[in-house]
């Protein structure tokens, strides 16, 4: 029996681990390090309708236990991704999550309609939470009604399950989650990056050319845990948890909080082998914890006692 398998809408995963969107390119680079088929799934870099160059450089800056990025959704556009990038995954056995972004509802729908038909794509991840582009993305992610309307439209044109990726930069994350669940989302991805900034004392200006960037890495883990803990108790669709995961213990913590699968972003830059290493460490950790199957952990921090926690 595979103690690690998890099953989410559209995603039959050998284990709950997937690289997070934007931290794994289109897979080729990491294929040089390990066999991608060991992964539970993989989320590819955001696709937009037209090619995008993204923001000027510098695009990354370090912070204490974290990093800021302002890539700006650089990608070759949905058509080229379907043509040149996705076929690569034919040689591997893993479900692919296509992350999609746009400036307008029409953009999102066009990309969703197209890419959801690709045979290599198992699910869509609706990126309504990218803090690094002026239009598109985050305005959909901070208003519940707008997010719900977009979700509904995308669901209508997508032939694959749709996960909505939530922004942590909101007053009420549960409200956002409930709105997109109601609108038909098959699952949630959370959290995207926190909006942040760093200044350079020499130039007295922001380090990033884009000024603000998205904060990721271990620094944001406690924010992710509390949001997943709250949202998983409010909704009944599964959550792909992420935000600062860098060890097998972190994966357990996210699943106890309420995540059904766990994505790993920034940690791939620190150690390109982090995903397969975590996957290989999980069985022993489960044994130590006396857990027969990893799914038993999901929501374990609030489920066992039966009392829904008042986390606000």
């Amino acid at each position: 029996m595979n103690k690690l398998s998890v099953s989410l809408p559209g995603l039959e995963m050998k284990n709950p681990i997937m690289p997070a969107s934007g931290c794994f390119g289109f897979g080729k680079e990491y294929a040089g390090f390990y066999d991608l088929s060991v992964l539970g799934a993989a989320a590819i870099k955001a696709a937009t309708r037209e090619p995008r160059f993204g923001n000027p450089t510098p695009r990354v800056a370090e912070t204490h236990s974290g990093m800021l990025n302002a890539i700006g959704l650089q990608n070759p556009g949905v058509d080229k991704i379907m043509e040149n990038e996705l076929p690569f995954f034919q040689s591997y056995d893993l479900p692919i999550v296509a992350n999609i972004a746009g400036s307008t509802v029409e953009d999102y729908c066009e990309v969703a309609r197209k890419i959801s038909k690709h045979p290599q794509v198992s699910a869509l991840e609706l990126n309504i939470s990218c803090p690094n582009v002026k239009e598109g993305g985050i305005q959909f992610g901070t208003d519940a009604a707008t997010a719900a309307a977009l979700t509904k439209k995308v669901k209508a044109v997508s032939s694959k399950p749709v996960y909505v990726k939530l922004s942590p930069n909101v007053s009420n994350i549960a409200e956002m989650a409930l709105a997109v669940e109601e609108a038909g989302a098959d699952g949630l991805s959370m959290i995207n990056t926190l909006l942040g900034m760093r200044l350079d004392l020499k130039t007295r200006k922001p380090v990033l050319a884009n000024k603000t960037g998205g904060l990721s890495g271990p620094a944001i883990k406690p924010v992710a845990i509390r949001m997943i803990h709250e949202v998983s108790q409010a909704v009944s669709i599964p959550i792909i948890g992420m935000g600062g995961v860098s060890s097998a213990e972190d994966v357990i913590e996210f699943m106890l909080a309420g995540a059904s699968a766990v994505a790993i972003g920034t940690a791939n830059f620190v150690d390109p082998y982090v995903c397969p290493e975590i996957i290989s460490q999980l069985p022993e950790l489960l044994e130590k914890m006396n857990v027969n199957h990893i799914t038993e952990l999901i929501g374990g921090s609030w489920k066992e006692c039966g009392i829904p926690s008042l986390s606000r």
């Binding site: 370090e62 990093m67 890539i71 620190v270 082998y273």
Partner: protein, 257 residues
């Protein structure tokens, strides 16, 4: 390309804030192309979080020893400078594409222009070119005498000109002033240094054939994160190259500096 904990053989300060670090490991066997770099993790905590790109400065394949030169700048290089003999460093590499060695033939002359901490990769290049019977002229620019390094090492391989901003060593001014003053003949140009230097060089010798090694802030170092992207001269606005995986070495003129 491998990840390995390499062992520190020696570490010493060879100029003001400039350290020479020698490490040994299996992975060094792969480091056959000058201009490639390695990505170092200098701490096992998340401070700092990201790896640091450092050029390959010299390689001894026989005993699998890699030499790196770096300037102690911020947190990362400060921590690196504390590593002692016998300790290990988490190294990912070799990364990127080095200087093409077959663009020039035996008997021809290569001009190597390096600025500050851009000098290190040119040393391994100089050695490999010399091995192939190519003549070397090196022009190395530094802030001042106390910042200069490897002058003698380059002198063993060919003619060397030095410039310093304050004139404390060699020509006063920049590498471009050396090129102005001296009458240097060469067939191919290889250069590595700050972008301002590369720009000045491009302007001064617009017809020169050769290769530039570029720098940019990096996330992954392997082409996955799109942090280190540059525009291509004459390409579409959405065309790009990644410094880490398509570079850091590019034909002169290819990339918008």
């Amino acid at each position: 390309m491998k990840k390995e904990f390499v062992r520190v053989i020696s570490q010493k300060e060879i100029a003001h804030q400039i350290f020479e670090l020698k490490v040994q490991g299996e992975v060094v066997a792969e480091m056959t192309s000058p201009g490639q770099f390695v990505h170092l993790r200098v701490s096992d905590s998340f401070q700092p979080l990201l790896r640091r790109p450092i050029s390959i400065c010299d390689v001894d394949l026989s005993n699998r020893t890699l030499t790196m030169l770096y300037r102690k700048e911020g947190t990362g290089t400060a921590l690196l400078s504390q590593k002692k003999e016998g300790e290990t460093v988490d190294l990912l590499g070799p990364l990127g594409n080095g200087f093409p060695l077959d663009a020039i033939t035996a008997g021809q002359t290569a001009l190597l222009v390096g600025g500050g901490i851009g000098v290190p990769p040119l040393y391994y290049l100089a050695k490999e070119l010399t091995k192939r019977g190519i003549n070397i002229t090196a022009v190395l620019g530094f802030q001042s005498e106390r910042d200069a390094f490897y002058k003698e090492k380059f002198a063993e391989l060919g003619e060397v000109f030095i410039s310093t901003v304050d004139g404390s060593l060699g020509t006063k001014g920049f590498v471009t002033d050396v090129l102005n003053n001296e009458d240097i003949n060469y067939d191919l140009l290889y250069s590595c240094g700050p972008t301002v230097m590369l720009k000045a060089l491009e302007a001064q010798v617009p017809d020169a054939d050769g290769f530039f090694s570029l720098e940019e802030r990096m996330g992954c170092g392997i082409g996955a994160c799109f942090a280190c992207v540059c525009h291509i001269n004459g390409g579409e606005p959405s065309d790009y190259v990644k410094i880490c995986s398509n570079g850091p070495v590019f034909p002169i003129g290819r990339v918008a500096l």
